[in-house]
Symmetry: C2
Subunit: 327 residues, 2 copies
């Protein structure tokens, strides 16, 4: 079996190759933002999970590379469009496509990336390709649903924890789960195991997003590649702000609400004040406990999967890495 | 065989049904614009061509309905995104999605429509489904390329006729051709015939777009569902403006260029002045001749297709209708 680092290397080599292909395509201005977006790097988490899952059942990892690329380019497509909708200023320490090029570029080059993901996926030779295409398409639809909910939550003060968890399941977790299941399906794994890996991916994905929420408030800008407190400034509903609103009472609650409604503030002042409230309410600890509870769910599913311990090892390693990360 | 009207009825009934399904989906605000866009109507040309092509080889038209819906919802997805990029004010006599809802809605609901088109397509049972998916994906990518070229041409004065024809091949013709070829493939037609139908569709599509250009300047607002002269006001490169720039000399050329560069004008005055120049240069006749030349290419391909005259009849009928239309 390949190590996680080995799989990452395979993916980066392949992306470099495809990036060379993209550079030759016309109209150049359509494909430049695609290339810019792919070259930005990122953790390549989704394609690594897909290959890792495939590799648990088959050694011929080469066969699954087009699917791994498909899921990575799809993920990058969502970033292009989400960044327009969220008016993002920075992505991975660089201007996002709609800033570097234009909004129209981000829309249209995003669109072509969505279709390129299908083009790559269709290169895969597998008896289960139809199922993988159905899974991928269902997932893509769910990711759109998640983004819609995320946008709607920004204009609501009363988002429940359960609504929030469903939103991040759709926006983040299903794509990680899709990667794990697709890898298994392409390698002709038992459907029961493929479904267990999906469930594992859902719990891992939710934990991962909660960690992302936590880092946005309690991480460091340098390792994160974007400013700390972005979610706070955007009044984004995150696990942290939802828990804070739920647990705050009296003066602390009024203060929090006034910060959330206040449009006329200095950014640094708002971040400090809201972090101060988070600290008073032990929000960091509550979030860490929630992350731990989802990681426990992963462990439970993990133990039920009927598969050799050796094959499970890499999955365990990458999952732990995902939840102990600083960026 | 079904008549064109019969096929249109099948499609509209099916869209009504799916529209009912969409109304039940959540988040409602993601699916409302999808429904709004599908309910707007339109000519349903692409799904009719797909079913008509299928019906030339098989009577069980029901099998191809999901593919017909897929191509229609894909077409509507492109309208949502193009209308943002082109800052369109009106679509089919109503506000486009980005005006009726918001730009973010048009981006995200457009995205989900792209994926719904794959979801529908994957419902089709056919031995050739993989080929159809490849064709559909290649076409979708080409449509993005066409839109990119169209946008780029707006900022250029020196667009050649050949460049323009390539742009409309990508932006408009390939999707009509895809409908015809996909219908044939799904019905297990001979691949040679499927490819001839594709070629037919390309020529028909180019003629159709040239007709569209013509109507934008020489049609009537009432039957067109949008204002006359929109292309002129937007300084859009069309066959008409490209031919006018190519053929104009001396004072007429300076006058035309000054209109194209002038940002400070009354819309009605600009339209009248540019139409006047078009008339001086016989642009209407030149465009009609070009349309006729592409229709002749259709006829040539048509005669080569090894298929009964009876089966060809409907295709001939709809093609003539497409080129004699007023809207």
């Amino acid at each position: 079996m390949y190590s996680v680092a080995g799989l990452l290397k395979i993916i980066n080599t392949e992306i470099e190759q495809r990036s060379g292909d993209l550079k030759k395509l016309t109209p150049a201005n359509l494909y430049k933002p695609v290339d810019y977006s792919l070259e930005m790097g990122g953790k390549r988490l989704r394609p690594v999970l897909l290959l890792l899952s495939y590799n648990m059942f088959s050694d011929s990892v080469q066969n699954a590379i087009p699917a791994a690329l498909a899921i990575e380019i799809f993920h990058n497509f969502t970033l292009l469009h989400d960044d327009i909708m969220d008016k993002a200023e920075v992505r991975r320490n660089r201007p996002p496509v709609h800033k570097k090029f234009s909004e129209n570029s981000a829309i249209l080059s995003g669109d072509v990336m969505a279709f390129l993901s299908y083009q790559y996926l269709l290169e895969c030779k597998s008896d289960n390709l139809h199922e993988v295409l159905e899974l991928f398409t269902k997932t893509a639809i769910e990711v759109c649903e998640g983004q819609q909910l995320d946008m709607e939550f920004e204009n609501r003060l009363n988002v429940e924890e359960s609504e929030y968890l469903e939103m991040i399941r759709l926006k983040t977790a299903v794509l990680l789960a899709c990667g794990l299941k697709a890898g298994a399906l392409l390698a002709n794994a038992d459907i029961k195991i493929a479904n267990q890996l999906y469930e594992y991916g859902i719990n891992l994905g939710i934990a991962f997003q909660l960690q992302d929420d936590l880092l946005d408030s309690f991480g460091s800008q340098e390792s994160l590649g974007k400013k700390i407190g972005g979610d706070i400034l955007a009044n984004k509903k995150t696990f942290l702000s939802i828990k804070a609103l739920e647990n705050a009472t009296g003066e602390v609650k009024s203060e929090l609400i006034s910060w959330l409604k206040n449009a006329d503030y200095s950014p640094a002042e708002k971040i400090t004040a809201v972090l101060d409230i988070f600290n008073k309410l032990n929000i960091r600890e509550l979030t860490e406990q929630k992350i731990e509870s989802y990681f426990q769910k992963c462990t439970t599913v993990f133990q039920q999967i009927n598969m050799g311990e050796k094959q499970k090892l890499q999955l365990q390693e990458i999952s732990k890495g995902m939840l102990n990360r600083v960026h």
